[in-house]
Subunit: 193 residues, 2 copies
């Protein structure tokens, strides 16, 4: 067992020992909202947004992007579990600003087992699940945070699966200060219709 596994399980034992009545929390988020944000290690959405266990859905991926999978999660969050407001929160100093699809293709070309990389990018020749067969991977890199927040709010707003009556707010988390800063044009684009 690696040291990391030992540390995680030890921390988990301490957490479980103080679990209290959290075992009785219901499945639907008590405060009826969801946050889509980046996987970045420096971000703790529960801390930066004041969430207790049971409060809100938290969706995270590289960049906090409105990928199809993030939209899948948001639609489930709304339709089955009752969230009624959504936040899209990107952040300063994001790793997604440090590379491009081309760089990623170069990095992967040395380690891929069956996929191919050509001038059009990366092609997965054997991905399962019916979702990437033969398709170019878009790594969803970012060149401007305010722009990426706006684009992602718009992409969610324009999804045919997303009801018009749910407001979507756009924010940037500042890794230097811990502060959330609104992207007003994104929140405006995400207002309920």
């Amino acid at each position: 067992m690696s040291n990391i596994v030992k540390e995680v399980l030890s921390a988990n034992s301490s957490y479980a020992a103080e679990f209290g009545d959290k075992g009785n929390l219901p499945m639907p988020p008590g405060r009826q909202f969801a946050i889509l944000t980046c996987m970045d290690a420096r971000l703790d959405p529960a801390k930066y947004a004041g969430l207790a266990e049971g409060d809100a859905h938290v969706i995270r991926n590289a960049g906090g992007r409105a990928s199809d999978d993030a939209i899948r999660s948001l639609v489930i969050s709304y339709k089955l579990l009752g969230t009624r407001e959504w936040f899209v929160i990107h952040h300063t100093d994001c790793g997604m600003e440090t590379f491009t699809n081309e760089i990623m293709g170069d990095l992967l070309s040395g380690s891929l087992k069956t996929a191919t990389v050509d001038a059009d990018g990366w092609h997965d020749s054997n991905a399962g699940g019916g979702t990437t067969d033969g398709k170019y991977i878009n790594w969803l890199t970012i060149s401007d945070q305010a722009q990426s927040v706006l684009e992602d709010v718009q992409r969610i707003r324009n999804s045919p699966m997303v009801p018009g009556d749910i407001p979507i707010y756009g924010y940037i988390y500042d890794c230097k200060t811990g502060k959330l800063v609104e992207v007003p044009e994104a929140t405006a684009a995400g207002r309920a219709r």
Copy 2:
């Protein structure tokens, strides 16, 4: 401004006021690992796994599933930001066990703006980004947690983008107790090659 937005910003102000030296944390995760887990409101991965800001990447979606987007995030986590061990953590009483693709299709048929739902499921006729055009949505529902953890560890292990030398561990978080319980066959399937 909604009450939820006011509450989030108020909690954020308190967090930022006590931010201390966290503004100096580097981008790469200090403890060099990543967790893929569910968006469920009852789960706080930082608490249940003992993460401080800066320690580890956290990727979350509905179910904690190894979607293409989760794999995109994990590959970035490894290639660009240096994580060397990954956890897949599903949980008891998951919302993804409560419905099927068919139920979701029925729920969506009343609210879709441009997409169509037929006997084959949901078809997005105008999704942007080149990733879902005309494609059936797989909601990645779950019927058995140990099985879904195993399947997701295997899907990551078998991705042509994932290097063989990274171990992938499979766990289930128990919402009644707060405890992490290993799925040994998943961890075995995810062992480094």
